[in-house]
């Protein structure tokens, strides 16, 4: 069963057509890199997959569950890292993680949280209020949440934004770990070089839909 099936997704905001008939299928363990110019609708598509938006036309199925009818089940299977950090500024990094994972139904031990924070390189800031974390550190914190959440489908909207070189490497390593563990990853990014390092497949979003690009061709085009 594919982790993600998008069927002819179209989406229109009040007067503006954001997406037209986008279809996609992701198998377990696959990493798909989504490219496209500004305004192509990448974030809209990611939000639809994250169930933040309901597509005006078309349907989305996550681990076999429809994203509208079986919302709760679909949401249990996915994790979304977007542009905003979803952080509560008066809470520490550890507390933010406890809250996020707590809402997913379980309580990681302090050891598990610290391991995840070390993995992403912000172990030293574990007890800092997240107000004092820089944008890059906040991004790493989101990655730590994802690691603990263990989703079947990981959605990353501009995962490399705000990250320094080390951070980007950590991100890619984690993405590879996710794929190896059988989770599907969908990355939307402008950084073709970095995304191509981890992606198995790639595609370009434009106003006619989603066009798959063979990854070898993408790699060749970059060099």
């Amino acid at each position: 069963m594919p982790s993600l099936i998008g069927t002819k997704i179209s989406h229109t905001y009040r007067f503006f057509k954001a997406l037209k008939e986008v279809s996609i299928e992701l198998q377990k363990g696959e990493c798909y890199a989504l490219f496209g110019p500004n305004g192509a609708g990448k974030t809209t598509l990611m939000k639809i997959f994250a169930t933040l938006l309901q597509p005006t036309l078309g349907s989305v199925s996550i681990m076999g569950k429809d994203s509208v009818q079986d919302r709760e089940a679909a949401r249990q299977a996915l994790f979304f890292i977007g542009h905003k950090s979803f952080l509560y500024e008066d809470l520490t990094a550890i507390e933010n993680i406890e809250f996020t994972i707590g809402l997913r139904g379980w309580r990681p031990t302090l050891g598990e949280i610290k391991t995840a924070l070390d993995r992403v390189g912000i172990g030293a800031y574990a007890s800092q209020k997240s107000r004092y974390l820089s944008a890059g550190m906040q991004k790493r914190l989101s990655l730590a949440k994802a690691i603990l959440a263990r989703p079947s489908l990981l959605l990353l909207d501009e995962p490399y934004a705000s990250l320094d070189e080390k951070g980007i490497d950590i991100m890619n390593e984690s993405i590879r770990d996710f794929s190896n563990q059988g989770a599907s990853v969908l990355i939307s990014s402008h950084d073709r070089l970095k995304a191509a390092e981890v992606a198995h497949r790639a595609g370009t979003l434009h106003n006619k839909g989603l066009k798959e690009v063979p990854i070898t061709e993408l790699a060749n085009a970059l060099f």
Binding site: A50, T51, L52, R71, E72, A73, R75, Q76, L78, F80, G82, K84, S85, F86, L87, Y88, E89, D90, L91, E95, F99, T100, G102, L103, R104, G105, K129
Partner: protein, 225 residues
């Protein structure tokens, strides 16, 4: 049980944030204090007239303070777009409502408990013996206001005109709370027997039940339109 866990998580998160920043409680407290002070200066009347006006004054002060406090319930969620995470969290949305509601009730009750003694001091009233009944009335009225206010907070928090829309929506619909609270407080302050103002307490209770249940039900639709 996942449902009650969610309520606990939301309550924990809000209370922790509030304890650390002390932002809401101080602004609410000083706002209410200001209202009381202005009343003191505005009405230069005899003690017996003041006693007659007291229930109304108390509830005007608490009412305005509630508008300030409840309107901000979801403001902390809009920052950093946390509300999006609440939307996609695999939890029943009604539990989020109840968690927020509990936090709001707690916050308002703390403010009210601090304010009653101040009312006693500023208006030279001996109401020490009546504090328990006053607190019960306050609790019921606070539940009603918070139930409506929490729902309207999420309806208005992302709007441009939030500060206009929130009181515009809340005040007309909370008329029964104000009527019930003022009448019951009147009865309690005058030392009347409970039976004489019992139906006002019942009104508050019925309002609380109906509005909380309907708001709880409707909340799901708002977060997940």
């Amino acid at each position: 049980m996942p449902f009650f866990d969610v309520i606990k998580w939301i309550l924990w998160k809000d209370m922790l944030s509030e304890i650390r920043s002390r932002e809401s409680i101080s602004s609410l407290f000083f706002f209410a204090l200001n209202v009381i002070l202005i009343f003191s200066f505005s009405f230069s009347v005899g003690q017996d007239v003041m006693l007659a006006l007291m229930p109304g004054l108390i509830w005007v002060a608490f009412g305005f303070t509630s508008i300030l406090g409840l309107g901000k319930s979801f403001l902390s969620e809009v920052h950093n777009d946390c509300i999006a995470y609440l939307q996609i969290a695999p939890v029943p949305k009604g539990a989020i409502y109840l968690g927020k509601l509990a936090g709001n009730i707690l916050l308002m009750m703390v403010v009210e408990i601090i304010l009653y003694p101040l009312f006693m001091i500023f208006f030279n009233m001996d109401i020490l013996a009546k504090i328990p009944s006053l607190l019960i009335i306050s609790f019921l009225a606070t539940v009603g206001l918070s139930a409506l206010g929490t729902l309207f907070s999420i309806l208005t928090v992302q709007l441009r005109a939030r500060e206009v829309m929130f009181p515009l929506l809340l005040l007309p619909l909370s008329v029964p709370v104000f009527i019930g609270a003022v009448e019951a407080t009147q009865g309690a302050l005058s030392g009347d027997p409970y039976s004489s103002y019992r139906h006002w307490i019942e009104l508050l209770f019925i309002f609380d039940m109906i509005i909380t249940i309907v708001s709880f039900w409707m909340f799901e639709y708002i977060l997940d339109y």
